[in-house]
């Protein structure tokens, strides 16, 4: 079963995404901050990471840098999600960090999010 690491600090939104992914057939590990996410990755390597940009203690960009510093983690695809995306954020700059898609939570439906996750998983398997 494909394992998703969901990193989302909002409790109810995290539970909503966990429910969505679980019902769609994924195995979901959910963490609320960047440090806990690194611990979870150490324990069980995910197939894909759905990462909130703004997190407590260690934010999404810090976690991306941490992933980049570990050779064996660089191939994990990351969907970067936020409801406060900086206007100048670009996928081009983030591709080297494993980001395959940037998702604006305010403008993305659960169906679109699920499609993006499935697309990233499919691309990884094809690769």
């Amino acid at each position: 079963m494909t394992r998703i690491l969901l990193v989302e600090d909002d409790r109810w939104l995290g539970e909503t995404y966990q429910l969505l992914f679980t019902k769609a057939g994924f195995q979901v590990d959910w963490c609320v901050d960047g440090y806990l996410a690194m611990e979870a990755i150490d324990q069980q390597r995910p197939d894909i990471i759905v990462l909130d940009l703004i997190l407590p203690w260690a934010n999404g960009l810090q976690l991306l840098q941490e992933l980049m510093s570990h050779y064996d983690l660089q191939s994990i695809p990351v969907l970067l999600c936020s409801n406060a995306l900086p206007a100048d954020i670009s996928i081009k700059e983030l591709v080297p960090y494993g980001v395959v898609e940037i998702i604006d939570k305010t403008a993305t439906t659960p169906r679109q999010l699920l499609r993006a996750v499935r697309g990233a998983v499919h691309a990884k398997l094809s690769y």
Partner: protein, 239 residues
């Protein structure tokens, strides 16, 4: 120009603060409408409850913002202040926010007995808004299954209402920064990035308008915010 920037910062902070509950409402309602995944009746009921509670929270924020904005044009002397029962206001707010706490497996404890010496000088709507902001913040940042505790004590001419939670609290540096700037400007909290600090900013503005203030105490664990208002003896003999 500086005022314009201040207004813009407030606008951005308000937008950010409102985005969180609105995003949840949008996601949950889309999930309910779509046949994407099968939800059990319990899951559907929980989703509806969270939509309702998030909508109420959004409305509380908007009402607080409106009150805060109106106060910019009102001299404090024009504000109609009266003796109010702080304990009763807290009980009303707790009753309103109880479903929110319950949905997060939390409890709210009112830690006081006699209602004597609990009259404060304030404005009914503003007082309710301040208490509501403090309790709402505590619930949002509290750990699941924990409790929010309210207690009050007399401090000279002032009455202090403390609202404590068992959430992640603040680092020493954050505590110093927030303590120094509390209520004076909107500030993001690193430990609570979904919060722009707007709720506390509004609470501070409204407390000041009533001749009081908000502050924070240090806890090893969790957060401890308080509201201080002038104690009223005017109607004490009637309670």
């Amino acid at each position: 120009m500086a005022e314009l920037f201040d207004k813009f910062d407030g606008f951005v902070a308000a937008s950010h603060e409102l985005k969180t509950p609105l995003t949840l409402i949008a996601q949950l309602s889309a999930l309910l409408q779509d046949d994407l995944v099968d939800l059990t009746p319990t899951e559907q009921a929980q989703a509806l409850e969270r939509i309702h509670l998030s909508a109420q929270r959004t409305l509380r924020l908007v009402q607080g913002l409106t009150s805060s904005y109106r106060l910019m044009d009102i001299d404090q002397l024009e504000l109609s202040l009266e003796p109010l029962n702080l304990a009763q206001t807290c009980e009303d707010v707790v009753q309103e926010l109880w479903p929110l706490a319950k949905a997060q497996s939390q409890t709210i404890e009112l830690q006081w007995g006699s209602r004597q010496q609990q009259l404060v000088v304030g404005h009914r709507d503003l007082l309710r808004s301040v208490v509501s902001n403090l309790v709402d913040n505590a619930i949002r940042h509290n750990s699941s299954g924990a409790s929010v505790r309210l207690h009050m004590r007399r401090q000279g001419a002032m009455m202090r209402l403390c609202v404590k939670d068992d959430g992640p609290g603040f680092s020493r540096q954050e505590f110093r920064t927030i303590h120094a700037r509390l209520g004076k400007e909107v500030q993001p909290f690193r430990a609570h990035p979904t919060s722009s600090g707007l709720g506390l900013f509004i609470a501070g503005q409204l407390a000041t308008a009533m001749g009081g203030r908000i502050g924070m105490g240090s806890l090893v664990k969790g957060a401890d915010f308080h509201l201080e208002l002038r104690h009223s003896t005017q109607l004490s003999f009637l309670t």
